[in-house]
Structures are given as structure tokens and as C-alpha cells.
């Protein structure tokens, strides 16, 4: 060790140590951290497996939760609208109460609204023919799509429904609905309906399948009053604020009618399914536990590592390494364990999530957003674990070596 080393600046000392290894300080940290971890390979494998399992669990839950959030608003996401009017009994999309269609005209009369659109929903029996097997069908009734329907497949499909006894069927319907081929005939109530086309939604929350008809046919198939509509959707004129339009509309709509902005409606939908209904709560709690477990496993591995290597840390200190360099090794070890666990977690998680998507049509497949979230969580957990443990390195005393 050169004379006067102890009085040099930490940066200089680190640079000297790095030059001894012939590389940058960051790279030196990675090399030392990797070598430390690889010394006891079986234990490293166990640690990586533990972190991987926790991260795998977290990957599944985050993905399912995100997919559920997207699914509960999927139908609304397919519409361009700024305001919605619903009956005051409204809890979520499948609402059996209605409002008067006059609300659509009232909206236009406010001057804030450029276009209005009627959306109907109900659940009917779909009777396969000739087997007469019954299943629940979530029936959606639409006005002329115009600029309201975002999905070009639905927009084009509805326009092409020429017969009053034809409908578009969700290609993601459950097998209980029966054959989904174009031309398949089945009964809704006393009327034969023919599948004229398909769309892809997978709204399994509301029925074994879903179908779209024109609003001119919807009342006949559901015994509804044609002057009623389940939900009224509005597009605002350019430059009109949604809150102002909401206030103006609230002032004139009949009693027992609620008005929401798009964001409010979507948020309410998510809140109901994920905060009131228990599945969301259950997944949130499982996520929290998985996160905690992953962090604790890294803490445990790192803690043992630090305890076992106090002598080596003392030697590094005696050689003049700065605390930042020594801590850097610890943090790098922690991050390496985290990332080493993340890789198998994502690989196995990807397969399981693909299977869930295949079975349920929930959009659970691993994408860039999930990847980013998992990387951020892994990195944060690793750094937290390192912060919890590395304080002990300060106690590494060169004098204790002798």
C-alpha cells in the first residue's frame, strides 16, 4: 500500500484500487459482488430461487390486477365519450334500470354537447337450437356507431347488421354459449337470431357470452321500452370543459339521473370491482405480502453475506477503500440477487400468465409495462434490503483482523 494512502481523498483511493484491478470502480464492484455471491453456489441458487418465487408471485398478481382493471372498463374504453348519464341506481355497467331517451336530446340542447349516443345493456337467455341448451348472454344495444365506437370491427359490424334478426357475437364467449360460427341460429326469447359477425371483448363478468345488436332491435329482444336507454353517452363541442358541461346537464336532466365525466365513470367502475368487491382486496393483500417476502429474502441473504465477510470488508477498509466503494459492493450484490431472481420469475410468470390469458381472455401476458414495473419493484426492494443491512459494514474494523 503506498505511503500516505490513508490521507488521500476517497475518490483517489477508489481509483487506485480500481486501477489495481485494471477497470472502473463500478465494474470492480460488480466483479467483487459477483465473486462473493458465486463462492457458495448452492446457497446462491437457494437465494435466487426464493427471490424468484416471491417475484413470480408478484408478477402474477400485478398482471392479473392490471388486466382486471382494464377488463372492467373495456366496453367503455371502446367508446369515444366525454360525459355519461345513468340512472341513480347505477353501480356498474350491468344495470337493469334505465333513463329516458329524452336525456340525449336534453344534452344536445345545453349547447355544450355535439353528439349523443344511447347504449343499452341487459342479460337475456341464449337458447341454442335445436339442443335448447340455455346460457346467459350479455346483450349490448347500440345506436348508429358514428364517431362513438372506437373499435373498427364493432363499428363496421354494427353497420353491416342488415336484418333485424342478426347480431354480432363475442368471439371470446364461453363454450357454454355453443357454436359461434357465422350463420349459427339460436333463440332469444321467442325470436330466432343469427350470428352475422364477431367482435372480441370477453366480458365474462356479466354472462357466458356477449352480443351486440342495434338499438332498434334491442327493446324487442329484452322487452324494454324503446323510449328508454341504459346509459346516455355524450361528446362535447371542442373547447367545452367536461365539468362545466356536467353541471349544465345536471341542471336539466330528470330526477334520479346521475351525470359523470368519462374519468369519473371509469374510476367508479374500477373502484366497485377492485375496492368494494373482495377479489381486488385479496389480490392487493397478496401483492403486499409477496413484495415483503421478496425484500426479506434479499435482506436475509445480504445480512448473512455481510456477517460472513466482515473480515474482508475490514481488509478493504485497511487498504483504504472508501465507505462508498464498500457499500457499493453490498448494494451491487443485493441488486444482482434481485435481478437474478427476476429473470426466472418473468420466464415462468410469462408461461403461467399466457395460460391465464388463454383460459380467461384477461390481458395478462407479460408486456413492457409489466416488465418496467417489475424492474422498478425489484430494484427498489434490493436497494431497501441493502440499506437495511449495510449499516453493519461500518463496524468492520481493520484492527480486529489481528
Amino acid at each position: 500500500m503506498p505511503e500516505g494512502f490513508a490521507t488521500d481523498s476517497p475518490r483517489k483511493r477508489r481509483a487506485e484500487l480500481s486501477s489495481a484491478f485494471g477497470m472502473l470502480p463500478g465494474a470492480t464492484c460488480i466483479i467483487i459482488a459477483g465473486a462473493n455471491l458465486l463462492q457458495h453456489r448452492l446457497r446462491l441458487v437457494a437465494a435466487l430461487a426464493g427471490v424468484a418465487v416471491a417475484l413470480f408471485l408478484l408478477t402474477l398478481q400485478i398482471s392479473v390486477l392490471d388486466a382486471a382493471k382494464a377488463k372492467v372498463t373495456q366496453l367503455y374504453d371502446d367508446f369515444n365519450f366525454d360525459l355519461a348519464a345513468v340512472p341513480d341506481t347505477y353501480q356498474f355497467l350491468l344495470n337493469f334500470e334505465t333513463i329516458d331517451r329524452v336525456v340525449l336530446d336534453q344534452g344536445r340542447a345545453t349547447g355544450d354537447i355535439s353528439r349523443a349516443f344511447g347504449l343499452n345493456v341487459d342479460v337475456v337467455h341464449w337458447m341454442q337450437w335445436p339442443s335448447k341448451k340455455l346460457a346467459y348472454l350479455f346483450l349490448i344495444g347500440l345506436d348508429d356507431p358514428g364517431s362513438f365506437v372506437r373499435d373498427p370491427v364493432i363499428s363496421k359490424g354494427v353497420t353491416s347488421l342488415l336484418s333485424s334478426n342478426s347480431l354480432l357475437m363475442d368471439a371470446y364467449s364461453e363454450p357454454d354459449i355453443g357454436p359461434l360460427d357465422i350463420g349459427t341460429r339460436a333463440k332469444i326469447g321467442d325470436e330466432f337470431e343469427t350470428i352475422a359477425g364477431h367482435f372480441k371483448l370477453g366480458l365474462f363478468f356479466y354472462g357466458e357470452g356477449s352480443a351486440i345488436v342495434r338499438n332498434t332491435d334491442f327493446p324487442r329482444l329484452t322487452d324494454r321500452d324503446s323510449s328508454k336507454v341504459s346509459i346516455a353517452l355524450f361528446q362535447l363541442r371542442p373547447g367545452v370543459s367536461a365539468q362545466k358541461a356536467k353541471r349544465d346537464l345536471e341542471a336539466i336532466v330528470p330526477e334520479h339521473t346521475l351525470v359523470f365525466t368519462r374519468d369519473e365513470l371509469l374510476q367508479q367502475e374500477r373502484d366497485y370491482f377492485l375496492s368494494v368487491r373482495p377479489v381486488g382486496i385479496m389480490i392487493y393483500i397478496s401483492m403486499l405480502i409477496a413484495c415483503l417476502v421478496g425484500t426479506v429474502i434479499i435482506v436475509q441473504v445480504l445480512s448473512t453475506e455481510v456477517a460472513n465477510r466482515m473480515k474482508e470488508y475490514a481488509v478493504l477498509k485497511a487498504m483504504g477503500s472508501s465507505p462508498a466503494f464498500v457499500y457499493g459492493i453490498g448494494v451491487t450484490q443485493s441488486v444482482l440477487v434481485g435481478l437474478g431472481g427476476l429473470l426466472p420469475a418473468l420466464m415462468i410468470g410469462g408461461v403461467v400468465l399466457w395460460y391465464i390469458q388463454y383460459r380467461t381472455h384477461l390481458e395478462t401476458a407479460v408486456g413492457f409495462v409489466l416488465l418496467g414495473k417489475m424492474l422498478a419493484i425489484t430494484f427498489a426492494a434490493s436497494v431497501c434490503a441493502a440499506a437495511a443491512v449495510l449499516g453493519r459494514v461500518q463496524r468492520a474494523d481493520p484492527a480486529a483482523l489481528y
Binding site: 448452492l42 446457497r43 437457494a46 437465494a47 430461487a49 426464493g50 418465487v53 416471491a54 413470480f56 408471485l57 402474477l60 398478481q61 392479473v64 341513480d88 341506481t89 353501480q91 334500470e97 340455455l134 346467459y136 365474462f204 368494494v276 368487491r277 373482495p278 377479489v279 382486496i281 385479496m282 389480490i283 393483500i285 397478496s286 405480502i289 409477496a290 417476502v293 426479506v296 429474502i297 436475509q300 441473504v301 448473512t304 460472513n308 403461467v352 391465464i356 383460459r359 380467461t360 384477461l362
Partner: protein, 375 residues
């Protein structure tokens, strides 16, 4: 290989703080398994709640009602036909529908499940049936399920609450519970319900067989006497059918099953880490024992003893935390989530299994204890 529990325990007790941390570490796996199992069983129990709650030997339902959350109703005449079958004492109609209950605080209307039935023949196993029967005989009232989700608001006995825009009086409370689909329940007398909806059909009929009659024989007679548009099941069969349906259709079943498996793996790995550290720290002592002539087999029995001690300590600690976690989750989700004797036994066996597995992996480390390394 019988574990040396006594010596293993003494070794672990040498550093009590460390034993505490080790127990907590194993307990983490136990808590995950308990919580995931609790969530799974809680969800399944909630979905089959009504099947487990009904009083009756057999249930008659519409053939199309393949799960309890379908609305396919049964003609009243079918229940009357069933009542005429030899061996049947009586058939109780149970009506079910959803109605809008206006929260008196925020004035929002929320959907709640309504059950209606004859007040003299309560179809559910509920506490204090005489009081329920008496309350339901008072017209224009209902009983509110106190285990409903809080979205309906708070109200007291005697309050007038709007049910589908009609003000009805709260005549008392019952305890039933919500499930994944339904947020709460109210009970009403058959008379009150039919006065509002005279054409209403029952959702099921509860068959009570005569004393001494064979339930299976009565079931077969009902099936032979009635057209094939009905299904006849015992409450237990209905509950089991519901459980299978939920597992088949809900992806969360798979999610919680994977969570349980993950808990077991995490518990095993944590226990392995603890045992590995134990062996590393006591390597000198193990080497001394070897120098004294003790075999590797003896040392391995000590490690397995430590694994056994850790499984007991981890399970006990985990049980306490899981109980607390389940209580919290049950309060938040309003589902019957808890630690029961069956889940306790299952998780206990799993804990011993995971610690023993960890012990068997860690045991390889003790073989490297070298008496020569002492000097």
C-alpha cells in the same frame, strides 16, 4: 433417520435472538400459505354460502341453474308436485331477487339480494329463528344482513329504508354474509314479496323428508314424478357443485393455489438459509464432535432436529400472524376468511415437510466439517 430434537433445540437456544429471527423467517412461508389458503377457502365458502346455510334434506332447482348465482327460477307447481311425492313432509319455497336499497346517507341506490320465504318455515340455519319468524310476520318490513358490505350505509331497527323506491321498515338483523358476486342480503316474508310481485317464481324449493324416510329414495321418487326440467340435490352436493364451478371459472382460484405453492417454496428456502447459517456458525463445534468420534449420521440427526424445532417455532409464530392477517382481510373483504382446524392441520403438515426438505438440503454442509481445520 430420527432427529435429535433435544440437542438441536439447545444449539438453537444458544442464540435466542437469532432463533427468534429464524422462526420469523420460517413463519413467513407459513403466513403466505395460510393467507393464500384462507383466501381460496374463503372465496369458495362464500360462493357456496347459501348451500351450506339452507335447512332442508334436498333442494329442487331449475335444471338450467348450474350454479347458485344464476337466476333460472322454478315453477311453483313443481314444488307442489314434489310435496305430493311419498316420503316428503313439506317443501318450502325460497324466492330470490335483487332489489335496489337506497343508502340513507349518500342517497345512492345499491343492488342487494332479497330472499323471501314463509315466516313460519325459515329456510336458513340462523340464530334465534323464533325472533326472525316473529319479525317477518310484521308486514312492510325486512331483516337486514349485518354482514353485508358497508356500501349500503348504516341504519337502525325501526328506520324506514327505500327498497326499490318503496319505504320499508327495518325489523331486525340477521347474519348471513356477502360473497364475491353479491354485496349483501335482506330477508322478507313470502307474503310481502308476493304482494309486490304476484307472478314471482321461487329460485328453489327446500324438501324436508318425513322422519325415517330415505333421502336418496325420496330424491329418486321426485325425479321420477317431475318433468326433466328440474334438478334435485342435497345441500352438500349443491355446495360441492358450487365449489367446483368457482374453481373452474374463476382465475383467482389458480392464482391463490400458485400463491400457496410459492409460500411453501419460500418457507423451504428461508428454512434452508437459516440452517445453512446455523451449520456455518457451528462448524467448529461439529468438527469437534467429529474429532471425538461422532459420525456424520449423528450430526445429520442434529440438523434434522433443528429443522423440526424450526418447523414448530415457525408454525406457531406463523399461526399467530396468519390469524391476525386473516382477521384484517375478512374485515376488509367481508368474506369468511379465517384459520380453521382443517387448514391448521394442512399447513402444519406442510410446515414440517418444508423444514425437513430444507434440512435434507442443508445437511450436505455438515459433511464438510473437518476436525483438522480446528488447528
Amino acid at each position: 433417520m430420527l432427529p435429535r430434537i433435544g440437542l438441536g433445540l439447545r444449539l438453537l437456544l444458544h442464540n435466542r435472538l437469532r432463533l427468534l429471527i429464524a422462526s420469523a423467517s420460517v413463519a413467513m412461508g407459513v403466513v403466505i400459505v395460510f393467507v393464500e389458503l384462507g383466501l381460496l377457502l374463503g372465496m369458495l365458502d362464500a360462493q357456496a354460502l347459501i348451500a351450506n346455510l339452507v335447512r332442508g334434506d334436498l333442494l329442487i332447482m331449475n335444471m338450467a341453474r348450474v350454479n347458485l348465482h344464476r337466476w333460472d327460477k322454478i315453477d311453483l307447481v313443481r314444488l307442489e308436485q314434489a310435496a305430493a311425492v311419498p316420503g316428503v313432509a313439506r317443501v318450502t319455497p325460497l324466492y330470490e331477487d335483487h332489489v335496489g336499497l337506497r343508502n340513507p346517507a349518500d342517497k345512492r341506490v345499491r343492488r342487494i339480494i332479497l330472499y323471501a320465504f314463509p315466516p313460519d318455515d325459515i329456510p336458513f340455519k340462523l340464530d334465534n329463528p323464533a325472533a326472525i319468524s316473529h319479525a317477518l310476520k310484521i308486514s312492510h318490513g325486512f331483516l337486514y344482513d349485518r354482514l353485508s358490505r358497508p356500501i349500503f350505509g348504516q341504519f337502525g331497527v325501526g328506520d324506514d329504508i327505500q327498497i326499490d323506491t318503496v319505504p320499508l321498515r327495518v325489523d331486525g338483523y340477521v347474519s348471513i354474509g356477502a360473497d364475491i358476486v353479491n354485496d349483501g342480503n335482506i330477508l322478507m316474508s313470502e307474503g310481502d314479496w308476493l304482494a309486490r310481485l304476484p307472478d314471482s317464481k321461487p329460485i328453489m324449493g327446500l324438501v324436508h323428508v318425513k322422519p325415517g324416510a330415505s333421502v336418496e329414495a325420496v330424491r329418486q321418487r321426485i325425479l321420477q314424478s317431475l318433468p326433466p326440467d328440474v334438478t334435485v340435490l342435497t345441500p352438500e352436493e349443491t355446495a360441492w357443485r358450487e365449489t367446483l364451478y368457482t374453481l373452474r371459472t374463476a382465475p383467482v382460484g389458480l392464482l391463490f393455489a400458485i400463491g400457496m405453492l410459492a409460500g411453501l417454496v419460500i418457507g423451504t428456502i428461508n428454512c434452508y438459509q437459516v440452517l445453512y447459517n446455523e451449520i456455518t456458525d457451528h462448524l467448529r463445534q461439529f468438527a469437534t464432535l467429529k474429532a471425538m468420534g461422532f459420525s456424520n449420521h449423528f450430526l445429520r440427526r442434529i440438523i434434522m432436529g433443528q429443522a423440526m424445532v424450526l418447523s414448530v417455532a415457525g408454525f406457531s409464530t406463523g399461526l399467530v400472524f396468519a390469524w391476525l392477517a386473516d382477521r384484517y382481510i375478512a374485515g376488509q373483504s367481508m368474506l369468511p376468511i379465517g384459520v380453521g382446524p382443517a387448514s391448521g392441520v394442512i399447513v402444519g403438515c406442510f410446515t414440517v415437510l418444508m423444514c425437513m426438505t430444507a434440512g435434507l438440503i442443508a445437511i450436505r454442509r455438515v459433511a464438510v466439517a473437518d476436525p483438522a481445520a480446528l488447528y
